[in-house]
């Protein structure tokens, strides 16, 4: 393990990629379906909510920035509670990864790799991810740093090239049809994604100048929510909420909606390739967190031995857990999200208990002499 090898800039870039890549690629359809015109407002508020989750996690981590949460957590809640909770976090991360890989291969088999068996796609993606993670936390973050600007550029160019098709009037719908009730599903969904930032708790000893972590997280949140909104709003302006929510991959349709006959028209595979790598970075981080939890829990120094088995588990899981798009949607609208949110809120529990303990200890100290 290399302590303090990750810069704050790398942290910011990884989380920014982490948040907007899958949000844009896979989740816009569900948000448009449930929130319509209120999706942008929902995303914005969900992002702030997600950041709030991670703030508490950051507060907790800052009390002991040089040691691993996996190690000291057991002194806070006791090992009988600590390890099951860790396992729960690891399992929800595993679920997030499985879902993302499944979505990835679903898009690829439907649009670009028609006829390629899904196991081939899942295993190739798995190999890419496993190799990134195998070389440790540094390589995951380096990958994020290298990809960030080109990926951001590709995501920012899409709204510009489709802008000539905007029906600007529809933008008014975001104001006239404002409703908190419609906004909430997107906000909840988004907070479950942005809340993944609270897992930064696990990698604190790797960070340089950890005190600045929350500032990096805030910038990641701002950048990625702006990027996501720059994709939701065009969808609303071009397709309208009714047609957009009926599309399985609205973002892909948006890409392909560029003026017909122009050279940009066949650009979508190039942009998809960039998505793919951004998602690999996200999954790399998740796999790293899982292997770190397992390794530290087993008192192993290195995460390496866990990386391949975990990635293989995720790849196989993605083939087994979800069978169809319809099943996937019913899964995502139900308990799965709550599971993620609970996992992201576990640090809050530690924070509360820890605060009580500190207060109790100081009072004891004050009263003892």
């Amino acid at each position: 393990m290399e302590p303090q090898s990750v810069t704050q800039g790398q942290l910011f870039k990884l989380f920014a990629l982490h948040l907007f890549s899958t949000m844009i690629a896979f989740m816009l359809n569900i948000m448009l379906q449930s929130s319509g015109y209120n999706a942008p407002a929902g995303i914005m508020s969900g992002a702030i909510l997600g950041l709030a989750f991670s703030f508490i996690s950051y507060k907790l981590a800052m009390r002991r920035p040089d040691s691993f949460f996996i190690d000291y957590g057991r002194h806070i809640l006791g090992k009988w509670l600590h390890y099951p909770l860790l396992l729960f976090i690891a399992l929800s991360n595993l679920m997030i990864a499985i879902i993302n890989i499944w979505e990835l291969q679903d898009v690829l088999t439907q649009f670009y790799l028609v006829g390629t068996p899904s196991w081939a796609i899942a295993s190739l993606c798995g190999i890419c991810i496993a190799y990134t993670v195998r070389f440790g936390v540094k390589s995951v973050f380096r990958a994020a740093e290298g990809l960030f600007f080109i990926s951001l550029l590709s995501f920012l160019i899409i709204p510009v090239v489709v802008s000539e098709n905007f029906e600007w009037f529809s933008g008014k719908g975001m104001i006239t049809q404002f409703s908190l009730r419609e906004m909430w599903p997107s906000a909840y969904y988004t907070s479950s994604v942005f809340g993944e930032m609270s897992f930064v708790l696990f990698i604190f000893p790797f960070l340089q100048s950890p005190a600045k972590t929350f500032r990096s997280l805030t910038s990641s949140m701002i950048v990625s929510s702006v990027v996501v909104i720059l994709h939701v709003v065009p969808l609303l302006l071009i397709f309208g909420p009714e047609l957009a929510s009926n599309l399985n991959f609205p973002e892909l349709e948006l890409l392909r909606f560029m003026r017909s006959g122009s050279f940009l028209e066949t650009l979508d595979p190039a942009l998809i390739a960039l998505w793919l790598i951004s998602i690999f970075v996200k999954l790399g981080f998740i796999v790293f967190i899982i292997s770190l939890i397992l390794a530290r829990s087993c008192r192993l120094k290195d995460t390496k031995p866990f990386v391949f088995p975990i990635t293989a588990f995720i790849a196989i899981g993605s083939l087994v857990v979800v069978k169809s798009n319809i099943q996937f949607k019913s899964m995502m609208s139900g308990g799965m999200l709550t599971m993620f949110v609970i996992a992201e809120l576990i640090p809050v529990l530690y924070y509360l208990v820890d605060s009580i303990q500190i207060k109790y200890a100081s009072r004891k100290r004050a009263s003892s002499p």
């Binding site: 008014k172 397709f239 047609l243 006959g261």
Partner: protein, 409 residues
């Protein structure tokens, strides 16, 4: 000793490119038939699907000389099959041609009027579901049986009819309606205008006696995905394009208010705004179009150096524009087809009121919606001259025939 692991590594590295994902189910370019035009029509025996497929083996320049000259072969094949449904016809085509039909290059779909009368919903559904067909695929319509007209069409500007259609769209020469436009909103889904193509006009460079080439015509009105009997004329279609903000440049003539003789104008449309409004009687929309106009010809005596005359002319062309807009909208309202998606504007602006009328929106549009038009054309350019050339000629007539044109003062 240490060489062996290195060799292994190199061997593995060499194997990796073979795993590049595209290589799994790759289809050779030679094995693809790229469809650039889809034609769907209805016949007595079912849905007739025609795919226009460029023949790559005849595309080499030098071997093909455009059209029919010296027995040159057409670089395109039209494959037609008929089936009970669109899918069935497609399967028949795929079953008969030796290449893999690919829709990745399809930009245009031409519909036959008979099919349009029965309903185009199956085609919209097909495009939306097919991952390779795009939602911005353009729709066109042809009156009568399409296939025979298209197959006989000579073309000299472009090699393929599909390129001609793309050119129309690219240069804003024709009403452009995409699959998305037809599916945009639920309340008025399937209502729209589809540009019609005519095969009557003779191709400008074709020899005398050759069959008609393609040209633009009016537009068909669709209601709930079905063509109604009323059709917009080419002039009305231009007004419709103005409402849709698609009319970029338009040339026409209008009588001068001073002497009734024609003045020729061109207008460059700047923008069109559709604004819903609410009165005590109910809902309405205002269509405001802003354009700049210039004069390209004048037969009239009108003195264009006077500001008041310019204002007179402006008033006249605005009156004409408003009148033709109103007539065109009245026609669509008569059919009960919300072709301009006014329902969408109302639903965005007044969601509450919209909910009460959403159910029978088409009837509301037909009878109760108040439509105001407000065309703002400002005459900005007079061309390169001020007075009409015509006036100079008249001076000559008065002064006798022995004097020839004298343009100098």
């Amino acid at each position: 000793m240490s060489l062996l692991p290195k060799l292994w590594k190199i061997a593995i590295l060499l194997c990796i490119p073979a795993m590049v994902t595209g290589c799994w189910s790759s289809v050779e370019l030679n094995n693809r038939a790229f469809v650039n035009l889809v034609i769907v029509d209805q016949t007595d025996s079912g849905v007739e699907l025609t795919l226009g497929i460029p023949l790559t083996n005849r595309l080499i320049p030098g071997f093909t000389g455009g059209t029919g000259e010296g027995g040159g072969q057409e670089p395109i094949a039209y494959v037609t099959r008929t089936g009970a449904t669109l899918e069935e016809a497609l399967q028949k085509i795929q079953g008969d041609i030796p290449r893999d039909v690919t829709f990745g290059q399809t930009h245009s779909i031409i519909l036959g009027s008979r099919l349009a009368k029965q309903g185009i919903a199956p085609i919209l559904e097909f495009v939306e579901r097919n991952p390779l067909l795009r939602l911005n695929t353009n729709l066109f319509m042809v009156e009568g049986p399409v296939k025979s007209k298209v197959a006989r069409m000579p073309s000299s500007f472009e090699r393929f009819l599909a390129s001609v259609l793309n050119g129309y769209i690219r240069n804003d020469q024709i009403l452009s309606t995409t699959v998305k436009d037809m599916m945009y909103s639920e309340a008025s889904g399937g209502d729209g205008l589809i540009p019609m193509l005519s095969f009557k006009t003779v191709d400008p460079s074709a020899k005398a006696g050759s069959p008609g080439g393609v040209g633009t015509a009016g537009a068909a009105i669709l209601r709930k995905g079905k063509m109604v009997t009323n059709v917009l004329s080419p002039e009305e279609t231009s007004s419709a394009r103005l409402v849709l903000g698609q009319l970029k440049r338009y040339i026409y003539s209008a009588p001068s208010p001073t002497d009734g003789r024609n003045v020729g104008f061109y207008t460059s449309s700047l923008r069109t705004e559709i604004r819903p409004f609410r009165t005590r009687q109910g809902l309405g929309v205002t269509i405001s179009s802003y354009s700049d106009a210039g004069i390209i010809a004048s037969d009239s005596d009108i003195d264009l150096r006077k500001q008041q005359n310019i204002e007179l002319l402006e008033k006249e062309i605005n009156r004409i524009a408003n009148k033709s807009l109103m007539e065109m909208i009245a026609k669509t309202r008569k059919s009960g087809a919300d072709v301009f998606n006014f329902g969408h504007y109302l639903s965005v602006q007044y969601p509450k009121e919209w909910k009460t009328i959403q159910q029978d929106w088409r009837a509301y549009y037909k009878d109760r919606l108040e439509v105001r038009v407000d065309s703002v054309i400002s005459l900005r350019r007079l061309g390169s001259s001020t007075d009409s050339f015509h006036n100079k000629l008249k001076v000559d007539e008065k002064e006798g025939d022995e004097r020839t044109w004298n343009l100098s003062p």
